[in-house]
Symmetry: C2
Subunit: 342 residues, 2 copies
Amino acid sequence: MSVTIYDVAERAGVSTATVSKTLSNTPYVSEKTRRKVLQAVAELGYRPSAVARSMAQGRTHTLGCIAPNLTDYTFASMIEGAHAEARRRNYFVLTGSAEEAADVKPLLEEMLARQVDGLLVINPHVDARSEFVRPLVEQGLKVVFLSPSRRTSSVLSVSCDNTTGGYQATRYLLGLGHHRIATIVGPGNEAWTLERLAGYRKALLQQGIAFDPDLVSRGDWTPESGYRCVHELLDGGRDFTALFAQNDKMALGAIRALRERGLDVPGDVSVVGFDDIPLARYFDPPLTTLHQPLQSFGEHAARLLIRAIGEPDRAQESLSLAAELVIRESCAPPSRPSLSRR
Amino acid sequence: MSVTIYDVAERAGVSTATVSKTLSNTPYVSEKTRRKVLQAVAELGYRPSAVARSMAQGRTHTLGCIAPNLTDYTFASMIEGAHAEARRRNYFVLTGSAEEAADVKPLLEEMLARQVDGLLVINPHVDARSEFVRPLVEQGLKVVFLSPSRRTSSVLSVSCDNTTGGYQATRYLLGLGHHRIATIVGPGNEAWTLERLAGYRKALLQQGIAFDPDLVSRGDWTPESGYRCVHELLDGGRDFTALFAQNDKMALGAIRALRERGLDVPGDVSVVGFDDIPLARYFDPPLTTLHQPLQSFGEHAARLLIRAIGEPDRAQESLSLAAELVIRESCAPPSRPSLSRR
DNA sequence: ACGGAATAGTTAAGCGCTTTCCTATTATTT
DNA sequence: AAATAATAGGAAAGCGCTTAACTATTCCGT
């Protein structure tokens, strides 16, 4: 049906080995032969089968990528970065989403069945100690995590310094004069949540302000949850003049809730988000937030992974890129004295 | 290195053919043998190689999907839907992005080299008449387009009825009493733009209002462009009491620009968007927009494609799902008489 | 009890490449 | 001019599955 390497070999009057060598730029093919082969390739419209090549080489030039979903801007950006870098290096990325922890295993199985050469993991349900991943790593599969994780020498990871990010956000609010700073966090077991919260606590501590668990409200990254959290905080009588939402979507939901309660942003409550999604600058008010180079995460991750595949014995390294505070208009100095100051 | 079908066959004391048949549920394998095989599989942790299977069967159980990018919510949703449906049917989706028309060809080539069984196309630069796609379709490759396209019997497509969507948006504004309705459109050569604009014109016409090209401003789907368009419209002295932005992101940019010019939404200008992205209900004001079942598009597309692959001779069909107007708070009756009414 | 179906399992030929040996030719050195 | 090295090209053995074709066994009905 389709044209194979045999057709090309025949047409060029050489063996399939020579065709293969020509196409893979192996030395020791004369210029004359090379030309003949190339011409036959062009004439027949030959396109080597990646499947057959994978079969013969035992490498698929494919990276598996697993994320909770494909629609969240942060995941999508990292994936896009990984795709771009992979393609530049002649790899492809096979993406799959697994929202629930239980979906991870079957997805992983299928990716392995497809013989991916390495794995990119954005999923919070999976880390280096996970029961699924550990045996694979031990068997030599290269994995890079696109989430904060303890640096270990056996595993690669690329991520933003979330702790410093959380610290910067809080520090900024503190600098503006706020003392009662509420925070809306993500699901409790996710590294992103934990690190950003740690940064928040660190900034507070440094300023001599006691950490108040009542000022922490748990969301799930959705705007709905941000909205709900603010109402809960307010219904619970919590007093605060600033709010650090661990992502922009929750920040937006929070702003709406604040308005509904008659609170002006930033007049009555300052808000800072995290991620700097493209719409954040068009929010009302434009959102002050922490910009993460998401696309770069993906690019670096793919680069590191591909290198690890090529040089299996190289020491694994982890990368941590900085988040950058983008100041817009959602923050202001506190206008009313906070209760904590009496 | 990894365990193959030979290892399983040996362990179970049968031939590889029997193992293969057992695993693919071919009839005529005794219960006893089946059990032996399954046990050997379990004991060895055997995982069939999808690559070898593809090689032998000539089918990869992989769908190629090409979109302009992976981060736009609309594309990502369709892709996610396609992924989900594909996995349910034992397929995988290999995604690639090509923003520029020139990037499409190499991407397509690579996907074909990877022997995708079918193609999902979300890219506006590619349609059924495209020079890249036509020969492939003629060679029997199954393709489904996830964009509006003329129904032809040789090609599948799934999309929203964009014309009716544009019509509904405009109709709604007209019903509120608006007569001077500006519109911000997408790039001129994209089917989405064209259809939504056609719907807009149809609604106007039906109401006996002449189409005024001066009220049409061209954006590129980004919030920045929506922002710019409004300023241009206003700088050009265009008078309008309502605005139909062809997507939510441009609508958000437009709202910001309107505010900057001292215009209240919906007090002075009503705005309607298109897409109903998750954040739209949290915009200020919550955006009235057309909801598209994006995920469903992707699911249907994958389903149709897989069916077409399985039954190559079946007549191709196209699906058009309806967009639904979601009324929120960004529209109101006009408060000032529009110039056109003198 | 016998012939033909139905059932169970095996053999072996691919699928389209890559790659390791080999052999043959040409260039270089002494 | 002979020995050696460098360069060119080919033969053939896989890679790990599937599947057509075939053989062997069991089960019927008559």
